[in-house]
């Protein structure tokens, strides 16, 4: 019967035989299943969680946006005629104003910055504000006598030592806290806020006297569209009707673009770390298949003897591996599917929105594809060697050694599957650029690991044997022919490398944020200083002992609309400069060049310049926007478009947290526009609190932002990101542990025999304990040493090349992780061998 690789009959036959073989149980496949399930769970869990959050963002888009569309304006309210015009297409319009303000507790006198939100009666158009104690929102915010009402975020109560019913002073008025906010429908949890929420009615904000000329207030008009209207059509009509108006339109497809982008990127990154776990697990899969097939040589020989071709044998075991891989993958997907539920339960408060529980087939399919490809790549090698099992072994003991390399077609198939794996990683996960570097890094690191591991094992083999027999035994076990040391070093080391790299990157970033910055950074930023308060403000700062220099500059907000007369949406902008086109920017004007900047092209203007608008911009941003000296940039400022010529480029050191602006105007253009001042003040740590009090008592409209709070928040955010990466990397370590467990289990018979022979020769149990411990400590030391080297190189590249930051090796961070790795290896290896120690020599020797 001619057999074709694609013959249905041949595969059906192989399937029948494979199922019979599987009756033997899953004993040899526990590690195989665990490796695949773990890796697939990691990949599908991350993807499922990201999809569940995206789904939640999509499903709640109207609620999160606060309407069918959102029209945002900075610093001033829309003309009532325009609002009325918007109302033509709408069923309802709600206005929301947001600003930072200072709240002072009446009783305790404590003060803090709050994110104040004032709402018109129509708010919320969608969803519901839930309060505790339960009450209608309008009732909670309504004035009663001379006092106003507010609902606040729970954390404000703790921060100011308040209870429901207590009073806080905001601006010129007193506000009674009537309720805590349980849920604010249009708010997502973000790492960066300047304070807890204080929700008040429109009239309350007006009465507080906080809004003055140029105050940093964001006006949002939420629109519930009339039946049959579309957000896009309304936006187009309004843009055409009011061509000079600057506003930002968002519809439900962009409800939380920043959050969606972050979740997306972070998910890609974690998915790739999950793929690392799967790759490491692949080594376990390969080892498990090889060990299983090593126990099947007799069966394979019998099958060949009674007429099974080599291809049939490979097919039988291929089908078996495929069935088991599918089982492992299914377990992994089932585990991964619980991720949204687990995340809601465990870290629900740190998710931007609660994950939408459900089954997401896309991440499941991606994880399954990764699982199958990795199982294929790693299992095919031992499978291909199964066809080389010498049948003559059934007749006699002396047989020629089988081939050690698979035949060419199998090698081609392995290479093809590996290529498919790379393509899937690069194009399947999203963000091919990041994925491409990940694949290069992962392949490079695995190869480096393999080479270094083989080198170390070879070195141990060639080292002069020490006279101490136990150390000699340990070294011999590491380097004996067929030792799994190299595979264990690679698989355990890969996860350890990621952990070490993450630890080093985190330490470097944290040092930038928490150590280097505060030494020459200001203690406070002060916003919303009215120009006429400038001198008094500086005097108030100077009056507090322990304070230092004050820097104060004018500030307005504006949006970049055109570059060289081309609308900014049509300009091709480099990724690192895109934030300039996406967000509203702070703008300033200056006579002299700001401190901490360096002129790299052009010349600074004369202090008494009076002429057409000219600007200075950041050199990196200029490159990203494709603009140079002589080019023009158009900003929309307070509803007016200002086109200015670029006359010089500066290089700015952003890391010192001083005041700096991408765009600085020459005098004469913005001076007359309503604006406020932004100031920084230096202060010793002891002077921070008195300075805060002095300024907030004297100037209720000025909002102080503590730099230490920001750096702590950034550090906290970094810690959370790092925790996520560490979580994913721990799965890679767990996969490595599985490989180690598999290797220990596979070597068990040999180890029992070794221990029995050594006992016969006079070794005590404690001798053997020390010997085995030594072996696994050696293995751990070698693994950790290689992981430190490769992890440090990886972290160095990421810190210096990707983040363009200064590098410092942090021995403590690397050492702690390395020692953890050594301890884990020694402990697990030793536990795995413990049973071998208890074997009675006579019984084992009789059985030989």
């Amino acid at each position: 019967m001619a057999e074709s690789a694609f013959s249905v009959g041949a595969w059906a036959l192989a399937g029948r035989f494979a199922l019979r073989e599987l009756r033997g149980g899953l004993k040899g496949f526990r590690i195989f299943l665990a490796c695949l399930a773990l890796g697939v769970a990691a990949v599908s869990g991350v993807g499922t969680l990201a999809a569940a959050i995206a789904e939640s963002l999509r499903g709640k888009a109207q609620v999160l946006l606060g309407g069918d569309m959102d029209i945002a304006v900075s610093s001033y309210a829309l003309d009532p005629a325009i609002v009325a015009d918007i109302g033509r297409d709408a069923e309802a319009v709600a206005m929301v104003r947001e600003l930072r303000a200072l709240a002072a507790a009446e009783k305790s006198g404590r003060r803090t910055l709050v994110e104040l939100k004032a709402i018109s009666p129509a708010y919320p158009l969608f969803g519901e504000v839930t309060l505790e104690p339960r009450q209608p929102l309008a009732e909670a915010l309504a004035p009663a006598g001379p006092r106003y009402g507010a609902a606040v975020e729970e954390s404000l109560l703790a921060r100011l030592d308040l209870a429901i019913g207590d009073v806080v002073k905001v601006g010129d008025i007193e506000i009674v806290i009537r309720a805590a906010i349980v849920r604010e429908p249009d708010r997502v949890a973000t790492a960066f806020t300047f304070g807890p929420r204080l929700l008040v009615a429109d009239a309350t904000l007006d009465a507080a006297g906080l809004i003055r000329e140029g105050s940093l207030v964001r006006y949002k008009y939420r629109v519930k569209l009339a039946e049959g209207q579309s957000a896009r059509r309304v936006a187009e009509r309004l843009k055409a009707a009011y061509p000079t108006q600057t506003w930002q339109f968002r519809d439900t497809s962009q409800a939380q673009p920043g959050v969606a982008r972050f979740v997306d990127r972070f998910a890609v990154f974690l998915t790739l770390v999950g793929v690392t776990a799967l790759l490491v697990g692949g080594i376990g899969v390969g080892n498990a298949v090889a060990n299983y097939l090593a126990g099947k040589t007799a069966t394979i020989a019998i099958l060949k003897c009674v007429g099974a071709s080599g291809a049939t044998v490979v097919r039988i075991y291929f089908v078996q591996v495929f069935i088991l891989a599918t089982l492992g993958i299914a377990i992994g997907i089932a585990l991964g599917a619980t991720a949204p539920w687990l995340a809601n339960a465990a870290i629900g408060d740190r998710l931007p929105v609660p994950a939408e529980i459900g089954f997401y087939w896309k991440p499941a399919a991606l994880a399954a594809a990764f699982g199958w490809l990795i199982a294929f790549v790693f299992a095919l090698w031992p499978l291909a060697l199964a066809r080389e099992v010498p049948v003559a072994g059934l007749f006699r003991h002396l047989v020629e050694p089988a081939r050690r390399w698979p035949r060419l077609p199998y090698l081609i198939a392995i290479a093809g599957a590996a290529a498919a794996l790379v393509l899937l990683a690069v194009f399947g996960v999203g963000q091919p650029y990041l994925a491409k570097w990940f694949v290069l890094g992962a392949v490079g690191a695995l190869l480096a690991f393999r080479v270094l591991a083989a080198g170390v094992v070879a070195l141990v083999a060639r080292m002069p044997r020490p006279s101490r027999p136990l150390l000699r035994l340990a070294m011999a076990n590491l380097s004996r022919p067929g030792s799994p040391s190299a595979a264990v070093i690679v698989s355990l080391g890969a996860g350890l490398t990621v952990l070490i790299a993450v630890a080093l990157i985190q330490v470097n970033l944290a040092r930038q944020v928490a150590e280097r910055v505060p030494q020459d950074a200001p203690a406070f930023f002060f916003i919303d200083i009215q120009p006429d308060q400038g001198a008094a403000f500086e005097a108030a700062v100077a009056a507090v002992p322990g304070t230092g220099a004050v820097e104060r500059v004018p500030m307005l907000r504006g949006r970049l609309t055109r570059v060289n007369e081309t609308p900014v949406e049509e300009v091709k902008v480099a990724p690192e400069a895109q934030w300039v086109t996406r967000n509203e920017l702070g703008l300033t004007y200056a006579t002299v060049m700001p401190k901490r900047t360096q002129l790299v092209a052009g010349a600074w203007w004369a202090p008494d310049y009076r002429g057409p608008p000219i600007i200075s911009i950041d050199a990196d941003i200029a490159r990203g926007l494709g603009i140079g000296i002589g080019g023009t940039m158009t900003y929309s400022v307070l509803g007016r478009e200002i086109t200015a010529e670029v006359v010089n480029l500066r290089r700015i050191d952003w890391m010192d947290l001083g005041i700096n602006f991408v765009t600085v105007f020459a005098p004469g253009t913005l001076d007359a526009a309503p604006h406020t001042h932004l100031a920084t003040a230096r202060a010793t740590p002891a002077a921070e609190e008195p300075l805060f009090r002095a300024i907030t008592e004297k100037f209720p409209n000025i909002s102080p932002i503590k730099v230490r709070d920001i750096s702590e928040r950034i550090a906290g955010f970094l810690e959370e990101v790092a925790a996520g990466v560490r979580g994913a990397a721990s799965l890679a370590v767990a996969a490595g542990v599985l490989v180690l467990a598999g290797a220990v289990a596979a070597g068990h018979r040999r180890r029992v025999y070794d221990s029995v022979v050594l006992k016969v020769l006079g070794a005590t149990r404690s001798n053997l304990v020390v010997g085995y411990l030594l072996e696994f400590v050696l293995l751990g030391v070698v693994t950790a040493a290689i992981a430190v080297v490769i992890g440090t190189v990886a972290a160095y590249v990421v810190v210096t090349e990707v983040m363009r930051s200064d590098w410092a090796f942090a021995p403590a961070a690397a050492t702690v992780t390395a020692i953890g790795g050594i301890a884990l290896t020694a402990l697990l290896g030793f536990l795995g061998t413990w049973w071998a120690l208890g074997q009675k020599p006579a019984r084992v020797l009789r059985a030989q």
Partner: protein, 250 residues
Amino acid sequence: MTASHANADGPLVAVSDVHVTLESSAGAVNILRGASLTLAAGEAVGLVGPSGSGKSTLLSVVAGLERAAKGRIVIAGHNLGAMDEDALAVFRRHHLGIVFQSFHLVPTMNALENVAIPLELGGARDAFARARERLVEVGLGHRLTHYPAQLSGGEQQRVALARAFAGEPKLVLADEPTGNLDSATGHAIVDLMFRIRADRGTTLLLVTHDTSLAQRCGRVLRMDDGRVFGAVAADPVRAHADPARAQGHG
């Protein structure tokens, strides 16, 4: 002698001047050094000789499991030297049955499935029906669904016999089929094997240390030092066998 057994269509097995050398860690070992052998269709031939004389290797060569460095092997008109590995497997499926000393049943398959393997591999639609008939024939109709571990040694060897004869091969090779059995069971197995062989007219090449067993074949050949020597009577066998084994044939 050999010529007298050849039928008009030529011998079923024609092995001439076969050399096999194996590479081992201790260097090259010349296992067969010009072995020749001819079996006529329907003939039963016993192959005796001391350990290491090359009997099992010759069996491997005839089964197409081992490649000869030199020489020619023609079985049922097929030149094994000209066939690739897969063609040899298909050849075994259709023309050969093998009985081993250690039974070599697949532990994860029950008796019926073990017997059906060659039939299934050959694509027979009635593989299980035929396998059942064979097992009934060897007296194991009541043990069809038992696994090897649930069967005695004698029963396992009966399953192996049923498997070897399942595809109604022209040639059955038996390598020490009673070596792992007690003498009563061994006798029963041998009786069964010879009965089935006779019923079907199957050609049998039997490798054994047991001269009395070899004597049940129509012809006995002796192997020594990688070569096959002509037909022997009991005495020459005894001359080359170790004294302990020779005693049984005194």
